[in-house]
């Protein structure tokens, strides 16, 4: 699985990077994200809900994202 390193980047940059990265990918594509921004956990969950994708929180700084819609 590819890894997107957003350590040290503040909101909203990690969510923007995730969305851009997924743009050209197929449904079902998965990526691992590293982010230590305190807004990432709530905002990735909200982003997934709003855009119809999935986020799994692996640890305080690690997230697994699955593209479920275009």
């Amino acid at each position: 699985m590819e890894e997107l390193d957003c350590l040290g980047l503040r909101c909203p940059i990690p969510v923007i990077k995730v969305a851009k990265h997924l743009k050209e990918k197929e449904v079902g594509y998965q990526i691992s994200l590293l982010s230590d921004d305190p807004a990432s956990a709530p905002d990735l969950a909200a982003w997934a809900r709003m855009t119809g994708n999935n986020v799994e929180i692996k640890s305080a700084t690690s997230f697994q994202i699955t593209k479920l819609s275009d």
């Binding site: 909101c11 969510v15 807004a39 709530p42 909200a46």
Partner: protein, 353 residues
């Protein structure tokens, strides 16, 4: 200097009539209302009249109305004043940070403390009834405008946080202590109104030698000015409530249909929270400011501690790109349309980069 054409922050300028009256009020109410001479008797009369005004609007007895020169002290008095030997304390995940601080202190002193969660609609889980339980209960959340349901159980010892709701929400029947902030009705800042119910087992938790309920050093001129602002606000609220509700609906519909990728909390008629995906709130608030619109934000980049709003996070609402629009009396549809046009252009510009 940028001139603000429209203010959508939670604070509002004082009503012009209150500003006009303030000078005279300071001239008439300088004396100590607790002393005997004529000027003091006059000051006492003015204080009593103001107390009656607050009591009438809050629907409580005037002898239970007290004034604080430091609003936030009321959280401490209202909660710690109810503590008995066996007390426990409950508060919610969307309470103000002052209450979090009190909870932390009580926890460290060994008291049983529970944090009540809230659902996606911002409604706090009702605490399990228990006569030993002191509950901090906000009537309305200052960031979202969401009102809490009435707590029906009379066994609870309820401290009511009415600092954001002001007159908008009635007190629950079984309240014990309550706190209002004069700013909630456009009154002067630096004044808290604190109330103790007749049946409350309240004990002033600040060291004192007499029978005082609160420290008692609030400014009498500010009390009088705040009572005047409360009367004016109450009158105008009845006239403008529906107009504001229509504007709030306009804002939330526009944000969803014309801007998109937005989490909207439109829970009340005069406060709308909008969180835009892929938007840096600091840049957005700054750009709106330069365009003449002042708004608040709950996003991390706008907070002193760089943490996202604990209220939005607890509700599962997007915390990035957040702007909070407060609709004050007198706001026009034209102003809202101008704000929305600016908002749409600025969000589109940021998203394109």
């Amino acid at each position: 200097m940028v001139s603000i054409t429209s203010n959508f922050q939670s604070e509002a300028p004082l009503h012009p009539a209150v500003i006009d009256a303030l000078g005279a009020v300071f001239g008439q109410s300088w004396a100590d209302s607790a002393k005997l001479p004529a000027d003091s008797r006059k000051a006492r009369l003015l204080l009593d009249e103001s107390r009656e005004t607050f009591a009438k609007h809050f629907g409580i007895r005037s002898d239970g109305v007290h004034f604080l020169g430091e609003v936030n002290l009321g959280f401490f008095l209202g909660i710690l004043g109810l503590i008995q030997p066996e007390s426990t304390f409950s508060y919610s995940a969307i309470d103000r940070s002052e209450i979090f601080a009190i909870a932390e202190q009580l926890r460290s002193q060994g008291m049983q403390v529970e944090e009540l969660s809230c659902d996606a609609g911002g409604v706090i889980t009702s605490p399990v009834p228990d006569a030993k339980k002191i509950v901090a209960w906000q009537l309305r959340n200052g960031e979202t405008g969401i009102s809490q349901p009435m707590l029906a159980d009379s066994a609870l010892q309820i401290f009511v946080d009415a600092t954001s709701s002001g007159l908008r929400n009635p007190l629950p029947k079984n309240w014990r202590t309550a706190l209002w902030d004069s700013k909630a009705w456009g009154g002067p800042s630096g004044l808290g109104i604190f109330a103790v119910a007749p049946d409350a087992k309240y004990r002033n938790p600040i060291p004192h030698l007499d029978n005082r309920i609160v420290p008692g050093s609030a400014s009498l001129p500010l009390i009088i000015a705040s009572a005047m602002a409360l009367e004016l606000w109450s009158e105008r609220e009845q006239a403008e409530r529906n107009h504001l509700a229509a504007l709030a609906l306009l804002i939330s519909n526009f944000a969803k249909s014309e801007i998109g990728d937005v989490d909207v909390i439109a829970a009340t008629h005069d406060l709308i929270s909008l969180s835009f995906l892929y938007i840096d709130a600091e840049r957005l608030v700054g750009a709106l400011d330069r365009a003449g619109f002042a708004v608040d934000s709950g996003s991390a980049c706008q907070a002193t501690n760089m943490e996202p709003s604990h209220v939005l996070a607890a509700m599962g609402t997007l915390t990035q790109g957040n702007v909070r629009i407060t609709l004050h009396h007198g706001v026009t549809e034209k102003q809202i349309n101008e704000l929305l046009a600016s908002l749409k252009a600025l969000v589109a510009e940021q998203r394109a980069n």
